[in-house]
């Protein structure tokens, strides 16, 4: 009799456990799907920023680098940039020479005699605001993240200053702010964007070599730029999902 009772309660126990476990499993199977769908939906409605830089239009004046330093309190020394301009010179013998004196702010002195130049051009550089950004992936505390509109940002109040993201960025776009000990990078002037203003570098560019806009809006200038030019991204082999599109990007540019 006692034995039967035991069996009965055990069976009951297993039954109830089974129901609970099954319920939890079912709910957990559904919930991520739901989350995925909902984010997908909100994503397609949201703005998703991309950047276009036209190498053919860039004259190397470095107004962008200067404006960025002024706007974003970037150290004035010849180190640390959120935005800079490189001059590439390819000689007739195929040698590649690159320079960016003080990020381009100090101007350029062409070291190669004109007769030996095969081609030369300027490449403006800034954060690629990657959609699969390696820098946000490696942050041990999640202090750096991609905003809902696709801008890679840093929370300086949360950053521990481990510099792992600096190592992980293939484009050299991050640095440690010496006075804070935390990481700093281009925010696409997020503080301006949110007030309806253009990023400082875009605003000052005298030749209109820089633009940004919503990649999800087929009518935006940004989408038209990608459509009407043969664009390329830096280091596509690293699959960073770069949203910085260059027109007339030479293969020598890294």
């Amino acid at each position: 009799m006692v034995k039967e009772n035991k069996d009965f309660s055990r069976r009951e126990f297993f039954k109830k456990t089974g129901v609970i476990a099954g319920g939890v499993l079912f709910a957990s199977l559904l919930s991520p799907l739901k989350a995925a769908q909902s984010t997908e939906k909100s994503k397609s409605d949201d703005t998703w920023y991309g950047i276009g830089l036209d190498i053919e239009k860039c004259i190397g004046c470095a107004s962008c680098a200067r404006a960025c330093k002024a706007e974003n309190d970037v150290p004035k020394e010849p180190f640390f940039f959120r935005s800079w301009v490189e001059q590439y010179t390819i000689t007739n013998s195929g040698e590649v020479k690159v320079q960016s004196p003080n990020g381009g702010i100090d101007g350029y002195k062409q070291p190669v005699p004109e007769s030996e130049i095969f081609k030369t051009f300027f490449v403006p550089k800034m954060c690629n605001h990657c959609s699969k950004s390696p820098c946000t992936q490696v942050c041990p505390v999640g202090a750096t993240f991609v905003s809902p509109d696709g801008v890679v940002l840093v929370d300086p109040n949360y950053c521990v200053g481990c510099r792992y993201c600096v190592q992980a960025c293939p484009y050299g776009c991050r640095y440690i702010k010496p006075d804070l000990g935390t990481v700093d990078k281009c925010t696409l002037c997020y503080h301006r964007l949110k007030k309806g203003m253009d990023p400082a570098c875009m605003m000052v560019c005298p030749t209109g070599a820089r633009l940004y806009g919503n990649l999800r809006d087929p009518k935006s200038e940004m989408v038209k730029f990608i459509k009407n030019h043969t664009v390329g991204a830096l280091k596509p082999n690293l699959n960073t999902g770069s949203k910085l599109y260059y027109n007339a990007l030479s293969q020598e540019v890294h």
Binding site: E77, F80, V96, Q137, C159, V160, R163, Y164
Partner: protein
């Protein structure tokens, strides 16, 4: 002046670097971090060779290996924390870990290894002895022992067998844990796809074997040093056995690193030219001389010879002593070549920056040395408190 070292590095720059790359982000402290965790993992593996694989010749170094591993483990995170731009925020890595980060899990792997593996194993190994010592020793030392036994005073044979079995179980768990600990440290570097010098699937495996090499060499060195200080005769069977394992594992390590380099040279990807310039230029001394010649080839050839031709004991002792130091220096420079070397070339592949180790400051030579000296002080205290040579003999059971 705040940026003086940067201006200096800039004047020594070669070719083109991105403007944010002039400064090296990870300095000697991050060289020490994989070095120290490697010593821990390696020393533990040597202990487990005795315990789990029952290699009796290594018995004289069993407790010494564990205590060495523990001493170094206690400081393993210190260089990391001191290196942070915001050291007082270090706990955020554990309270709010970002799970896609290879670095975020280190705190947990570390705590698991320190608390569950090392601490428990040492406790089970010493519990009986600490109970006995608490009765034999007067005053303060007795109180320490009593606290350390956590009030479990059972000295019956049965309790010793239980301790032994649980200790054995923990060692078995500890072996994969040691592999995870250091393989994981390798992954922190190996997973950085932006850096071609680091980004290789071989990195965790190479780190693991170099860790074993350095840990074994460290225990060899400490065993000899402690015996000399205590004026005790060295157990040559034990030393020869350590030498043999050092030889085999160093050989595997050498082959793995060789494979990695051969693969790089043969496939010669986009980054090959700059890396080739790197190892033949700025890394030449630390890579070929310190890591390759002093840290690998000389020990490998000497230990290899010892497997066939054994010179007299006194010569072997002297050679083992020197070789253990050579290997320790070599593996330090292996870490150096990975960490520093990986930052000397620009990710633009068009140039090199420069690095000079300062003498003072937290990132300087002396600041770094602190983290190699502190574990030795801890070890001295532990050896005073838990002397392996005063332990009761292990009891044999089935």
């Amino acid at each position: 002046m705040e940026f003086q070292s940067l201006y200096e590095a800039m004047s020594k720059m070669d070719g083109y670097c991105y403007p944010n790359e002039i400064e090296l982000n990870w300095s000697v402290l991050i060289v020490l971090y994989p070095y120290i965790t490697g010593l821990v993992a390696g020393a533990f593996i040597l202990a487990s060779l005795n315990r789990v694989f029952n290699i009796k010749a290594l018995k004289p170094t069993y407790e010494l290996s564990l205590l060495t591993a523990f001493s170094f483990m206690l400081v393993a995170t210190m260089p990391l924390i001191f290196h942070l731009g915001k050291p007082f925020r270090f706990y955020e890595i554990m309270t709010t870990p970002h799970l896609t980060s290879a670095m975020a899990i280190f705190g947990f792997v570390y705590l698991w290894y320190l608390m569950v593996v090392l601490l428990l194993e040492i406790w089970f190994d010493y519990r009986y002895d600490m109970t006995i010592w608490s009765k034999e020793n007067p005053g303060f030392k007795s109180i320490i022992y009593k606290i350390l036994t956590l009030g479990i005073k059972d000295v019956s044979n049965k309790s010793r067998i239980t301790d032994n079995k649980l200790g054995y179980f923990i060692t078995v768990v500890g072996i994969p844990s040691a592999f995870i600990l250091h393989g994981y440290v390798g992954f922190i570097f190996g997973s950085v796809k932006a850096n071609p010098w680091w980004s290789t699937v071989m990195m965790p495996v190479i780190f693991l074997f170099s860790a074993m090499v350095s840990g074994i060499a460290l225990v060899m060195f400490i065993y000899m040093a402690v015996s000399i200080i205590r004026k005790q005769k060295l157990d040559m069977i034990c030393l020869d056995a350590i030498g043999k394992y050092l030889f085999y594992i160093l050989l595997i390590d050498f082959v793995l690193e060789g494979l990695d380099q051969i693969h790089r040279i043969y496939v010669a990807e986009e980054s090959f030219d700059i890396l080739n310039l790197l190892v033949h230029g700025k890394l030449f001394f630390t890579f070929f001389i310190m890591q390759g010649l002093i840290g690998t080839l000389i020990p490998l050839l000497t230990l290899g010879t010892f497997q066939f031709l054994k010179p007299k004991e006194n010569i072997r002792k002297f050679v083992y002593f020197i070789l253990s130091l050579c290997v320790l220096v070599g593996i330090f420079f292996m870490r150096w070549n990975v960490v520093i070397g990986g930052q000397l070339f620009s990710k633009s592949f068009y140039g090199f920056t420069d690095f000079k180790l300062d003498m003072i400051g937290k990132e300087g030579f002396l600041g770094g040395m602190i983290w190699l000296v502190v574990p030795l002080i801890i070890l001295t205290i532990l050896l005073w408190l838990l002397p392996p040579w005063k332990k009761a003999p292990h009891i044999e059971h089935e």
